[in-house]
Symmetry: C2
Subunit: 232 residues, 2 copies
DNA sequence: CCCGATCCTTGATCTGGATCAACGTCCGGG
DNA sequence: CCCGGACGTTGATCCAGATCAAGGATCGGG
């Protein structure tokens, strides 16, 4: 593991306040591995053997039932996944696969639970991390049930713009097929949604997006911090 | 607070392992109150001032945006809500109202955070409780996105039956209007869904339901522990 | 005992989004 | 340099579920 990667991991909310020695123990037990795109990392229903942390690349969490498949979320660098299952020593509710080539830190579940039992600061950090995960799911649920597809796309574009500094110019973090799945729509409908947003100043050229009339777009998307703000 | 109520609260996952004195402190700071039906307890966007625990009755968590309103979940006796917001000292993402006359234990957020800081066993219990909440949301998301309305109703009926001892006879825990909202459909469509399930042995007479052909219903609902099992 | 309100059901219609199909564009490999 | 496949767009059609409308059933209150 490179020194800068180690520093990045150490700086995550989850590990920030952890005891030095305990953190070193965890890292000693962990594996860092690089995976090519589209490799399945976990399968829903399997026992949770590792806590995963994305250090580079991007991982898709998804779920399937009766032949359908849905995308639950995309995990970006600095993000963790499967924390809840690891702590409960339970079975995965979601599957995971790399979206692109990714570097993933894998910490054995046993080690995580051990640190959770023994390190009080760590167990408190876990609380905050889990609270964030939970609230993220609540927001996703609201987004999905309260807004139409076009509104979801509009709100998402505004969020991406905000996260890129609000310049009105950014490029999509995923390909459109993935973005469609993430927004809970088909690729066809995403395409149509982009077309619908053209009159609202949304110019999409491949992955590059320019928002030339943010005010109009906001009037349509009605962004709400209780749905769209990561930090809230 | 009655002695049996106190014992019930003490027995909850959240408080079970807590230090005796600390638990007494928490209870001393708490208010127990009885509310009539349809009283709004919290408003999304407001600061989280209390952790709520339902001891009797039933509370609906809901969210609104742009004039629509959706039901997020129903909290039954023994259930807690707003834990994540209290711990993060953040704003509510959901509103809450009593569905029926309810007894609610309200613990000041300050006291909860204090206990969380000082009582290691409590902070670990919180982790497990939050993990359950998170996984509950994941399951709800899967249920909603992967199944049709009829399938959701079928799976839900099977779950109610299971929770009532699997006798094939039970009564619905909520009125149909509420059940519809909980399943993410309109009352009209819930009514039609019940009609659709009649050939599968579902006899609904008011709140009373008889499942006369569980196997047929299961073939339709394709229940899956990773969606339908509370305990998983 | 009747009235009005609430809840549920049923029917008719509408619509957002899914599905099916075809086509253009880009890109990597032979 | 050309071919084949992945990806995205657009059009046509279909369907689940929402909406609109109306009619019973039940029940509490005057």
């Amino acid at each position: 593991m490179r020194a800068d990667e180690l520093a990045n991991v150490r700086g995550l909310q989850l590990f920030r306040d952890m005891d030095d020695a305990r953190f070193a123990d965890l890292m000693r037990a962990a594996y860092l591995q690089t995976f090519p795109p589209h490799v399945q990392l976990i399968q829903e229903g399997d026992r949770a053997d590792f806590l995963f942390i994305v250090t580079e690349g991007c991982v898709e969490l998804f779920a399937a039932w009766n032949g359908h498949e849905i995308t639950m979320m995309m995990v970006e660098p600095g993000g963790t996944f499967i924390l809840a299952a690891v702590l409960k020593d339970a079975v995965h509710l979601m599957s995971a696969r790399t979206a692109v080539k990714s570097r993933i830190l894998m910490i054995p579940a046993e080690a995580v639970r051990g640190a959770f039992e023994r390190d009080d600061a760590f167990s408190r950090s876990i609380v905050l991390e889990l609270a964030d995960c939970y609230r993220g799911m609540v927001k996703a649920q609201k987004d999905l049930k309260l807004r139409s597809g076009v509104e979801r796309l509009a709100a998402r574009l505004l969020r991406y713009d905000r996260e890129h500094g609000g310049t009105g110019t950014f490029s999509l973090p995923h390909d459109k097929r993935t973005l469609a799945a993430l927004l809970g729509m088909t690729p066809e409908n995403l395409s149509r949604a982009f077309a619908t947003l053209r009159p609202y100043g949304v110019e999409a050229d491949g992955p590059n997006v320019v928002l030339s009339s943010v005010a109009d777009l906001q009037r349509l998307a009605k962004p709400n911090p209780l749905i769209d703000d990561k930090a809230v």
